[in-house]
Symmetry: C3
């Protein structure tokens, strides 16, 4: 086996994208595409373009050929061709060329514009399953005329129903509060009181720490792997309060319920520590891989330090334009190849090990964890 074989193995590896959102099959104009290239929710200033970013450069490099364009075309040329082919065709091409065999889709974000898991499966001619977002389930329940006093039981029932066919759960407590919360299970009385305050205020966005903790513990009770956004994200979060190390007490209290730390950048080394010392902790560097573009190989390599390789996963965290889904897979394959090929070339790793471990991170670990 030569290192070319490692490259081939990585190129052909059918991935499980264990944390992703639906693709956006609608047409996109340039402002909408620019907004999709950043976690910022602010208008993009007129004196700059998001195409001048690692993600923007990567998009032009790797997605252009899928649209029959030469690599590194100008943004306007890319968008012209995108429009010419039509969003549906572009989405179909980009998703299929990603080589993802199974999408685990967080359905908690976006309205009807984003493809459902079933639609993702159909357009990409592969499999898709659902990851249920805890906060969304509660917010829906809040719209359904629930009384505070019955909320704990009603929520447990609704969550069980909603996730009957799901493969995992997701929490955005990082956005709604940060990880510096009281890690203990709240009492029923505390939950009812907090639910009363929330419902009297009209329900809506859940950011009460008691309710957020109730959601987390409800997820733990259900027994599905619990994904937690960690690290970089939009300005709704305070990054220094999203360091996964702040979860350490919670991690210990819920052991052995499986916890999956998502993204983690720039705290991915901290996540590696948790994944080494706690058998039930897993992590990925999704989202960061896309946003760091040409630098993603460095981020992938940094994710391969402390954690045993059975604890590291692949995800894109793509949401919206299918370019993001495509890039997640391309950049992970390239970054992983670069790290492992270097170690094989140095004679430190065997190529057999490299191929096997790449397969674990790209698919096998997720298959076991989510039983999918």
């Amino acid at each position: 086996m030569t290192i070319a074989d490692l490259a081939t193995a990585l190129d052909e590896l059918p991935l499980i994208d264990h944390h992703v959102h639906g693709a956006l099959a609608a047409e996109l104009d340039r402002p909408a595409m620019e907004r999709a290239l950043t976690e910022s929710d602010r208008p993009i200033p007129g004196w700059m373009t998001q195409f001048d970013s690692q993600l923007g450069v990567a998009l032009r490099r790797w997605c252009a050929p899928v649209l029959d364009l030469p690599p590194r075309v100008a943004p306007e040329e890319y968008l012209r061709r995108r429009h010419e082919l039509g969003a549906a065709e572009v989405t179909r091409r980009l998703l299929r060329a990603a080589g993802v065999a199974h999408w685990l889709v967080d359905t908690g974000m976006g309205g009807t514009e984003l493809l459902s898991p079933a639609e993702m499966a159909e357009i990409s001619a592969t499999r898709a399953d659902e990851v249920v977002r805890l906060e969304s389930v509660l917010e829906q329940l809040g719209r359904d005329d629930v009384a505070a006093g019955e909320l704990p039981e009603r929520f447990a029932q609704v969550l069980a129903e909603r996730s009957a066919r799901a493969v995992g759960l997701k929490s955005v407590v990082a956005y709604r509060h940060g990880f510096d919360f009281d890690p203990h299970r709240p009492s029923r009385a505390e939950v009812v009181a907090a639910a009363g305050r929330w419902l009297r205020a009209g329900g809506g966005r859940v950011d009460d720490p008691v309710l957020l903790r109730f959601l987390l513990w409800s997820g733990v009770d259900l027994g599905l792997p619990l994904q937690l956004h960690a690290g970089h994200g939009d300005p709704d979060l305070r990054l220094h309060r999203c360091d996964p190390l702040l979860l350490t007490e919670f991690v210990e209290l819920v052991e052995p319920a499986p916890l999956v730390l998502l993204h983690c950048y720039p705290f991915h080394r901290n996540a590696g520590h948790l994944a080494q010392v706690y058998p039930h902790v897993f992590f990925d560097v999704g989202l960061a891989v896309n946003h760091t573009g040409a630098r993603s190989a460095a981020v992938v390599a940094e994710s391969l330090e402390l954690a045993p390789f059975a604890k590291v996963l692949f995800s894109s965290d793509a949401c919206g334009p299918a370019e993001l889904h495509h890039l997640g897979a391309v950049l992970w394959r390239r970054g992983t190849h670069r790290a492992l090929a270097e170690w094989v070339q140095e004679g430190v790793w065997s190529e057999d090990d490299a191929v096997r471990i790449a397969g674990m991170i790209g698919a096998g670990n997720a298959r076991r964890l989510y039983d999918c």
Copy 2:
């Protein structure tokens, strides 16, 4: 265009050093030079030399040829030649060879020994403008017999006068307190009370958090870009209290007033997050580039991850011996070339993009931001 062209473009790029201090044109003996190679304010122990550091090795490598010496000469040989040429000639050579077209000089540090912006311009045969340090303006006002009750208005007036021809403002709240301050604008009554305490204690060094916040908000009101020291610096600061993420609330409160996070090491990835999600946040890795020497290419590469390239700037943060001004430019050019050339060689970036984006970071972004 070949990659050699990228190297040429970087070598010849006229830089804007958007945060620098005056050069020291006086003669330097070895102890003084050693002290200039560290942020430590402690005497250098007899059992070590600061030349055995990344900065010391870089100085011998890159500055020696400017003094007609072979690269990597011994420190004593370097200093002998420096003395032979005379400090004025050495300063002239090193500043001119830096290829900096415009120095934005923080005048808040050092006495009469450091060159003024006008002197910097003259000796380097290029342009220089001033960045006014907020704390220095207040400390001067404190020496001018101001009453606490009139301080807010008097300060606003003096600051406007002092910065009439300045291109930016600078705060050292990182040193004087850390970033864990109440981010809100203090009331006039709070400022007057704090000013009274400060003046009754004899004025001098400002470290009262209310006065420091008053300075920051005064800077915001004035409308010039506001530079903030962040990250590594001398032992006057507590590094863990200088993580720019601790400024997040302040960043949101002052939006859209332009904020420039200086240095940031080892929190430069955190700065990249802020620069991505907030349109008015900019940053650089000045100071760290000098102090990490042969490792500065890695630091520069890490600064090119999350932030759109319109938000990243070049500075040296040099202060004192012109070797530091020279090295800031040399090491930034080399580090940037190394990162971009690798991406061009991999076929990920086009060379046109690499040259264009290097020009943005090295000069264009600063030109727009400071309107200079």
Copy 3:
């Protein structure tokens, strides 16, 4: 001198492993070996193996040839051969092949299974000295019928006796509390009161912050270099409370007593800051070098940024199977060669400097610091 000479110099450099634990000369079965490859204290799940980690891969690569096996053999083959040779022979081979000239052994961990400094010296045919763990000395005193009122003086006396021939002291306050403690010297009355509470509760594990501070200050008083575990370790610690920056006030209060920050990962850049600005602060990246295996070259390189090279040390932090002692030395030599050789090849460093500075980090700095 060619770069091959740098490689030879590094290969042949007699190291001082300034922080290590005794080797385990007993036979090991596979579960015991797997447990030795992680800082986790949890049972290793049946669906994974610790051999699929950077440390596991490194072990197969670098230790197998010492046992006459080809590199990268399967774990079961390695363990079969290990058993065939016998643990004593394996330990002898691995320790001698490490090329360590002097072991500074922390004797505070492990029972009689781990080799004593004298046994380490004998089996490896080299020198060994002791580093005395402060908490262990107090815990022993607690078993010896001491009264709270006499504890401060008795401890000082016992510590002086126990460390009469030691070269350094060690604190595990990172594990027992974290670095967020009151940095001031506790009063005698506080110590006596805390000792009373501790003794009435039966003595045993010391985690009272007053007693931990008393130990630290007792160590400072004694004048030997004081080692502090920092960063990554087993789940007994909370990693975010083990960032060495949290020690800054303590560092200033005890100046100039020499402090040695051990491991530090992932906060090694923070340690570099402290080592630059405080003359009495030293650090290493031991433990992390082993656990990051093929990535250890990156960690070593990151440790060579801010700190003057006179302040950086080599250690393995190995504990138990002699594979860990061997890998610590092999990976440090390789990582250091890779960083320095790159800088020599670039023409930035001279090879003479590279050889000289490698010798400082690998042995010379420790020799001076510990006067050994």
